[in-house]
Structures are given as structure tokens and as C-alpha cells.
Symmetry: C2
Subunit: 341 residues, 2 copies
């Protein structure tokens, strides 16, 4: 791997370099019923057997999950909310209402983020920047999604029992929280914020296809900016492309002369058992990459089984309003690099 | 004014200090029909006589306005979109769809922000941080709102002709864009991200009242953190409290022993002629503080008529869903300090 020549905080077309890197101090990861019946059940700090999580609405259940993830991370680090300088949070609900109400409960200053399912990548990038540059000692990052709340808002209420096409993905119910601070066992060393891409996808069930070009653009930019190759990473992880988007990414890359190797994986293809859970093309939602990265991959980085991981968190910028007004569904991807010591 | 003792980038409970400060390189400010008939008509770079702005929907009109504001700022600075490192943008529409589609058109990496009507303060704070710390040479910040699109989404379609209560505010139609870069005539020197506050307001027309406690909390935090007093500012500007929220802010402050002086003003009370334009309690919307700050106040800072201005951009975190589920409307305010050389 070529070490970048410049000592600046900015590399190439658009990659941020964190010197010193921002450390991952602690995480909290929670999931709903489908997530706790899947292959990552042991990766969850808390599993909710009921998607209502003891609340009256899906929206309040999602909030309970994000709060639980936040308090879990705080407890692991031995910190109180008052010890945290900033809360960078986002979710899929309109007005990022989950994040705002969690911010109210926690009492930490909030900067609300919206990057759809890419929000974890976006928030980790901003949080690492704030910590590395000395604007904050400790930042709490949180994202969430809820199958029932998201399906109702973006497509159809799940109670309708609508027949879904085989390329549809299953919105993950759950949340992830990360406390960022001074250098730790695993650190965020670089981030590449993404550009919005539009492959003229017009099917709100086919968001994996919408996101593939954004994932490719951000991956290629990150590799070029940092002078690295795919082989320099133990794992390159896309957010939630699912089967359809994942194979499209590989095709798109090949058509541009980019070879994506065996170290490429997708959180949407990792979180569920695609053979035995009826999730069609795989998982999606802001909590998808959170549960996989924080619950499954991070422990392997901490234990030294993995050394360098690149997450390209993908987000379909789907709006039911703009879609109904005849527009395409554009997408975005934000990359962050995690390295073990 | 006491100069803060520490040389750190972080002061007190939660204020960010920008050393070197981030300069305002250029701005673009556009407004709709109501805005161009009001007292700030001469402050607009472009006035749209029709709220559709030549487009078929309110949503596309809002996008046209944000893009126009962005291109205006870029043209004034002699820059192309490719010269800008990051686009920090937000709006009131679900999934911040205005900002995302503008990001697609501009081709600049996007970090989507959601702080409701406080989004300008939030985005200026993050943009100043990125520029000051060397993560970006040039950042484009943009916010927008549109009366027709916002009323339909948050309350009732304007076509219903619903009778509005006298404490209702008028959502501003327009957009503002700011290019941030190296030190300039006017610079952003400090920012205080806000905490979410809840005064148990349950009326979606009474958002000024919902925002008053957040404005007070952020103002007091900023003054304490930076060791400054109200008298140290030529102008302290709240975002969009309107008549009702403005008088509530003064009452709340008094009850806490804080005296707000004659240098306090509110963008929502500045943008329209409250006597002769039927805007009831005043203006609101993400474009409200943008048009007032960038169109009216910034030129006075550039000409030396004002020297130090504090904006506390206010946002009601109103969600029709959580409101219909019986919850209060919490709010937030983000402060940024602008200083002339």
C-alpha cells in the first residue's frame, strides 16, 4: 500500500484523513425478531422478540431500540450522556424523528444527519473529523431503522400483506451506536463522502440496483485518493446492496475495468440467512450496516482477525413524493476505513 | 468581552472555536412572490414572481430555487461545482429531497443535514469546522423551504384554504447558499450546536412557542462558553420564532434572570411586513434565516456597519407522524457567530 505523500487532512478528489485517527471506544447493537433469528443473533447486545419492543407504535419501538443501543455503548464505556460532547444521529423516518427524540432524552447537543441507509458512514466520517481535529472529546453516533415503520412510510404498510417482488429487500429492524474518542484498539483512519448517483432506477423495491453505481463511485474514489488497492483490505463491505445490487456492482465495476475481489462482501447479504429467512434479495435499512459492522466485523478487528476494513455504506435517496412525481431514485455511498492497531 | 483562556477548539459546555476562522466567500439568496413583495426584496439575488418558478410542482420549484442560490454563489466567487469539496445541505422536505437532487445536479460530495428550520446554523457550524481544520478548502452550504410544499407535508395543502390561527407563521419560499473557505471580510468564528428541548407544545401552528426554549438554551450556552454578554454583539438574531415565540423567549429569559436587550431580533419578524402582508405571527422555514442573514445582515457586516453578529437558527422538530401519535413537538437551535474583520 502506497503511503499518501501529503500530510494534509485532505487527499485526492475527496478523502478525509484523520491524524490522529478517531478511536472506537464502545458500541451498542440491538435487533428485532428477524435479526435475532438470523446468523448474527450472537452479535446483538439485545434482541427484541417482538417488533413493537413493548411500545404502542413501530416508531416508538424504533426509538426504544436506538436509545437502548446508545445506553449500551455508554455503559460499556462507563460514560454518562453528560460526558459526551455531540450526538450525530440519523434514521429513515421523516424528519429523522427517532434521532431527535433520542437526542431529547439523552440531552446531548444533536446534529441530525440524513443519508438514508448510508447514514452510519456519513456520521462516522463527521464524528471522526470532530474528534480528530479536537472539536469534541467524545462523539456518540447512532442510526436505526424499523421494518414496520419504514415499509409503511416508503412503500406499503406491512399489514396489507402485499406480494413483494424477488428483488425486494427486507428493511432491518434495529439500531447501532458507536462512541468515538481518542485512539483505541480499532480506529477510523480515512473517510470518503460520496456523490449522488442516478442510474435511472424507478422501482422503489429495487433500491439495491439504485445504490450500486454510488457504491462503485465511492469505492473507486477512496482507492484512488489513498493510493490503495482492493487487496490492501482484509474486507471491503458495501452497505445494503442485496443480491441484485451486489451483482450489478460487480458488473458495473468490470465494465469500468475495476476488478472487485473475494474480499468484497455486503452487509445486506450477511445479516440474514437468505436460504431460510424470507428476505428475498437481502437486508437493507440504516441498521443493516450498523449491525453487521459493529456487531460482527468490529470484534474481529479488535481481536486481530481482521486488520483493515473499508465500509462503503450505501443509501437510496428514495422519496415517495418525488417518485410519485415521476422522478428516478438517486443514491449515495459514504466510505470509512477502520484499522486495528 | 473576555477572551477565552484556552487555545483549544472546544470551549465550555459545547462551543466550537474556529482557528483560523472560516471565511464567507460568496452567497446566493433567492425568494418567492411573498418574499419579493416584502421589506427584503432588494436583498434577493433573484425573485420568483410565481411560486412554481416555472416548474410543474412545488417540490421542483424548491429545487430550482436551491440550485439557483448555489449557482449564484458559485458565479460570484468565480468557482465551478468541481472546485467545491463538499456540499452540506438540508431542507424541510421528507428525505431532504431538495438537497439530494441538487447534490446530484452539482456533482459535489454531499453530507445531508436535517435540523428543520435550524439547518443553516447546523450546516454553517459543520462547514466552518471542515474548512478551519483543513478537511476542505471550499464548502458549499445550502438550505431551502417552500410554502406550498411544506404546508402540504406538515399541515394542510394550501389549496384547502384552511383558516389559520393568528399565531401561525408563514413558511418562507426561497433558498440561501453560502460558499465557505479561507478567511474573508466576514468570518465564522464560533458555533454552538444545540440540545433538543421540549416545552410540551402540541399545536403544529404554534412552532414559535416550541422553539423559544431551544433558542434560550443555545444562546445562554454560547454566552457562557465564550465568556461574552449580549452587549458584546451588535445583533443577536433568532431564526424564526415569530411574534409568539419571540415574546415567549423574552419571558422565559427573564424568568431565568437573563436580560435580552435591544440588540435582539428575529428573522421571522424581519423578512415580511407584518402589518401589510398576511403572515400572521411572521415568517418561518429553513429559508427564513438564510434570506435574512445572507441577504440583509451579511452585507452590513461586509460594509462594516455591523461587526459581530450571533445567529441562533431555530428549528421545530415537528413530525406529522409523531404528532398524530400524541407526542409533543420538540425543538432545537444552533448558534454561529459571524465577525467582520
Amino acid at each position: 500500500m502506497k503511503t499518501p505523500v501529503t500530510g494534509s487532512r485532505r487527499l485526492g478528489k475527496g478523502t478525509l484523513k484523520f491524524v490522529p485517527p478517531a478511536g472506537i471506544l464502545a458500541t451498542g447493537v440491538v435487533g428485532g425478531p428477524m435479526e435475532s433469528q438470523g446468523p448474527l443473533s450472537a452479535c446483538l447486545d439485545h434482541a427484541y422478540a417482538d417488533q413493537f419492543a413493548g411500545k404502542k407504535t413501530f416508531e416508538k419501538a424504533e426509538r426504544e431500540m436506538m436509545l437502548n443501543a446508545c445506553y449500551t455503548a455508554l455503559n460499556k464505556a462507563g460514560l454518562a450522556p453528560g460526558d459526551v460532547n455531540l450526538f450525530l444521529a440519523g434514521d429513515l423516518l421523516n424528519q429523522t424523528v427517532t434521532s431527535n427524540f433520542c437526542g431529547l432524552e439523552l440531552g446531548i447537543p444533536v446534529l441530525g444527519q440524513y443519508g438514508a441507509c448510508s447514514t452510519l458512514g456519513q456520521s462516522l466520517a463527521l464524528g471522526a473529523m470532530m474528534v480528530s481535529a479536537g472539536y469534541a472529546d467524545t462523539v456518540l453516533v447512532a442510526v436505526s431503522s424499523h421494518n414496520g415503520a419504514a415499509e409503511r412510510q416508503y412503500r406499503y404498510p406491512t399489514e396489507y400483506g402485499l406480494k413483494r417482488p424477488p428483488w425486494a429487500q427486507w428493511t432491518v429492524t434495529g439500531a447501532g451506536a458507536v462512541l468515538l474518542g481518542s485512539q483505541s484498539q480499532v480506529n477510523i483512519t480515512y473517510a470518503t463522502p460520496g456523490r449522488v448517483k442516478d442510474l435511472a432506477v424507478r422501482d422503489p423495491f429495487d433500491l439495491g440496483a439504485a445504490m450500486a453505481p454510488a457504491a462503485l463511485d465511492t469505492l473507486v474514489t477512496h482507492l484512488e485518493d489513498t493510493g490503495s488497492n482492493m487487496e490492501d483490505y482484509d474486507l471491503v463491505l458495501t452497505g445494503d446492496l442485496g443480491k441484485n445490487g451486489y451483482s450489478l456492482l460487480i458488473d458495473l465495476a468490470r465494465s469500468q475495468g475495476v476488478v472487485l475481489g473475494d474480499n468484497l462482501a455486503d452487509c445486506g447479504l450477511t445479516i440474514y440467512d437468505l436460504e431460510n429467512q424470507q428476505v428475498f434479495s437481502g437486508g437493507s435499512g440504516a441498521a443493516c450496516s450498523a449491525i453487521v459492522l459493529l456487531g460482527k466485523i468490529l470484534p474481529d478487528l479488535q481481536r486481530g482477525r481482521l486488520h483493515r476494513v473499508l465500509l462503503a455504506a450505501t443509501g437510496a435517496l428514495h422519496s415517495p413524493t418525488s417518485f410519485q412525481q415521476g422522478e428516478n431514485i438517486p443514491s449515495i455511498a459514504h466510505a470509512v476505513r477502520l484499522e486495528g492497531r
